[in-house]
C-alpha cells in the first residue's frame, strides 16, 4: 500500500474533526445559555463548523439545498440538543495537545484559520465585490487537512521540511513527494466524502493551487489570497511558514496591488481583537485541541 493509500485509509475512518470546545461545553451546561454566543463560537472553530455541516448535509436536516455556512446550519437546527451533539462529536475521537506533525499548538491552528476566514471576507469588502456568504466558512475550514494529517496520521514533518528546504520546493509540493498527497487535497477529499457542498470542498482542495481548478471561482480566489495574507500577517504560523506560492493569475483577476493588501492586513489585524477572547479560551493548557 502506498503512503497515499495508507493516509486515505486512515482518514476514511475519521468521523469528526477535533475542536476547541471548552467554552462551548461550558455554555451548553448553562440552562440560560445564549444560543447566539454558542453560534459565535461554532462559526469561528473549524472543527465544530465542519462537524455541523457534515451532520446537516448528511440527511434529514439538509432539505433540497446543501448548506455551506455554519450560521445557516445553526438557524436550520436551532436547538441546543443538536448543537450539543455536534460539539460532543468534536471531543470524542481524539485528544491531542497539538497538531504534532505540523508543530502547531491547537490555539495556533484556530488563530490561523480564523485569520484566513477574516482576510478572505475583508479582501472582498475592500475590493468592493459581492463576497459569497460561504467565503468565511471556506477560509475557516481550508486548513482542515492539516488537522487530519497531524492528529490522525501523525505525520512526521521533518522529512517534508528538509525536502522543501533542500530541493527548493513549496511545502505542499514537498508533502506531495513525501506523502503522495498534500494537506489541501486531503482536506478537500475528506470533506467531499462527508457530503459537504462542492462550493466549499473545491475551495479547500484548490486553495493553495487555484490555477489547477477548472474554471474561475471568486470564493476560491478570495480564500487563496486570504491564506496568503494570514501567513504574511503571521498569526499561528507553523513550520511551513510562508513557503507557498501566490497565484499570479488570481492576483491579476482581482487586480491586487500592494496597497490593497496593506489595507486588508491592517483591517484584519484590527478585527482580530474582537475574537481574541475565543483564542484565549483555546489556550494549550485549557483545551485538548
Amino acid at each position: 500500500m502506498s503512503r497515499r493509500e495508507e493516509i486515505l485509509a486512515k482518514v476514511a475512518k475519521v468521523v469528526a474533526i477535533p475542536s476547541c470546545v471548552q467554552k462551548a461545553l461550558a455554555l451548553l451546561n448553562d440552562p440560560d445559555a445564549d444560543l447566539g454566543e454558542l453560534a459565535r463560537i461554532i462559526e469561528h472553530d473549524p472543527g465544530l463548523t465542519v462537524n455541523l455541516l457534515k451532520i446537516v448535509n448528511a440527511s434529514f436536516f439538509g432539505g433540497n439545498r446543501p448548506m455551506s455556512t455554519a450560521r445557516e446550519a445553526i438557524v436550520r437546527l436551532g436547538t441546543a440538543q443538536v448543537l450539543q451533539f455536534v460539539i460532543s462529536t468534536g471531543v470524542a475521537p481524539s485528544f491531542v495537545h497539538k497538531i504534532e506533525g505540523y508543530d502547531l499548538a491547537p490555539n495556533m491552528h484556530l488563530q490561523h484559520s480564523v485569520t484566513v476566514a477574516m482576510a478572505a471576507r475583508e479582501l472582498g469588502d475592500v475590493l468592493g465585490v459581492k463576497t459569497p456568504d460561504h467565503a468565511f466558512t471556506a477560509g475557516l475550514v481550508s486548513g482542515v487537512g492539516k488537522i487530519l494529517l497531524g492528529a490522525y496520521v501523525q505525520v512526521n514533518v521533518h522529512p517534508i521540511l528538509t525536502l522543501a528546504l533542500e530541493e527548493g520546493l513549496s511545502f505542499d509540493q514537498a508533502e506531495d513527494q513525501v506523502l503522495g498527497i498534500n494537506h489541501a487535497e486531503l482536506g478537500g477529499m475528506v470533506l467531499d466524502n462527508w457530503g459537504l457542498p462542492r462550493e466549499l470542498t473545491d475551495v479547500v482542495r484548490y486553495h493553495l493551487r487555484p490555477d489547477e481548478f477548472d474554471g474561475e471561482d471568486l470564493t476560491l480566489d478570495l480564500v487563496h489570497i486570504g491564506n496568503v495574507l494570514a501567513k504574511m500577517i503571521g498569526v499561528g504560523l507553523g513550520v511551513d511558514g510562508l513557503n507557498y506560492e501566490v497565484s499570479k493569475k488570481v492576483a491579476e483577476r482581482l487586480n491586487l496591488t500592494p496597497a490593497i493588501l496593506d489595507t486588508v492586513s491592517a483591517n484584519v489585524v484590527e478585527g482580530l481583537g474582537e475574537v481574541w477572547d475565543l483564542f484565549m479560551e483555546c489556550a494549550e493548557d485549557s483545551c485538548k485541541i
Partner: protein
C-alpha cells in the same frame, strides 16, 4: 524573570535586567529591538506594514502598526525613560515573504522602510535576520541586550 509578549502592531520596553521581551510568529512583519547597554533599557516592536500610506487612519490609533511611525515612537519612549540616542543598538528580524513573491513583497518593503528610517537618522543596524519564507520568534534579554532568534526549532544569537 518576567516575560513581556509583544503582539502584532505592539511595542513593549523595560529597564528590569531580569525581564525578557518576546514576539512570536513573525511572518512578513518586522520585529525591531533597541537597547541602550549603559542604561540597561530596551524595547521591541512588531510592525505589520512599512508605512501608513494605505491605512492612514490607523497611524493615529496605533502607530506601532507601521515601521516608520512605530520605530520612531519606540525610540522616543526609550529616551523618555532614560536611554541616550547615540548608545542605542538596533537589531531586526522577520520580514519573510511568500515563496517567489514579486507581487507584494511585504516583508522586503518592511525592511526597506526600516533601512530608510535609520539612514535618515544616521544610525547603523547592528544585526539582522530577515527574508526567506521562514517564521521567526525573537527574544530580547534585558540583562545584556542579547537578541535571540528562534526558527524551525533552532535558536541563534543576533
Amino acid at each position: 524573570m518576567s516575560l513581556h509578549v509583544v503582539n502584532i502592531s505592539d511595542m513593549k520596553f523595560s529597564d528590569q535586567p531580569e525581564d525578557v521581551i518576546v514576539t512570536y510568529s513573525l511572518g512578513s512583519c518586522l520585529g525591531v529591538t533597541v537597547y541602550d547597554p549603559e542604561a540597561g533599557i530596551g524595547g521591541m516592536i512588531h510592525c505589520l506594514l512599512p508605512t501608513a500610506s494605505s491605512a492612514r487612519d490607523k497611524a493615529r490609533t496605533n502607530p506601532f502598526m507601521f515601521v516608520n511611525t512605530g520605530v520612531a515612537m519606540m525610540v522616543r519612549k526609550l529616551m523618555d525613560a532614560g536611554a541616550i540616542k547615540h548608545r542605542l543598538v538596533f537589531k531586526a528580524a522577520g520580514g519573510a515573504n511568500m515563496r517567489n513573491d514579486n507581487l507584494f513583497n511585504t516583508g522586503a518593503r518592511n525592511f526597506e522602510s526600516l533601512e530608510k528610517l535609520l539612514a535618515r537618522n544616521g544610525i547603523d543596524l547592528t544585526a539582522s535576520d530577515v527574508g526567506g519564507t521562514i517564521p521567526r520568534t525573537v527574544f530580547l534579554h534585558l540583562d545584556t541586550g542579547r537578541v535571540v532568534v528562534r526558527s524551525l526549532g533552532e535558536e541563534k544569537e543576533l
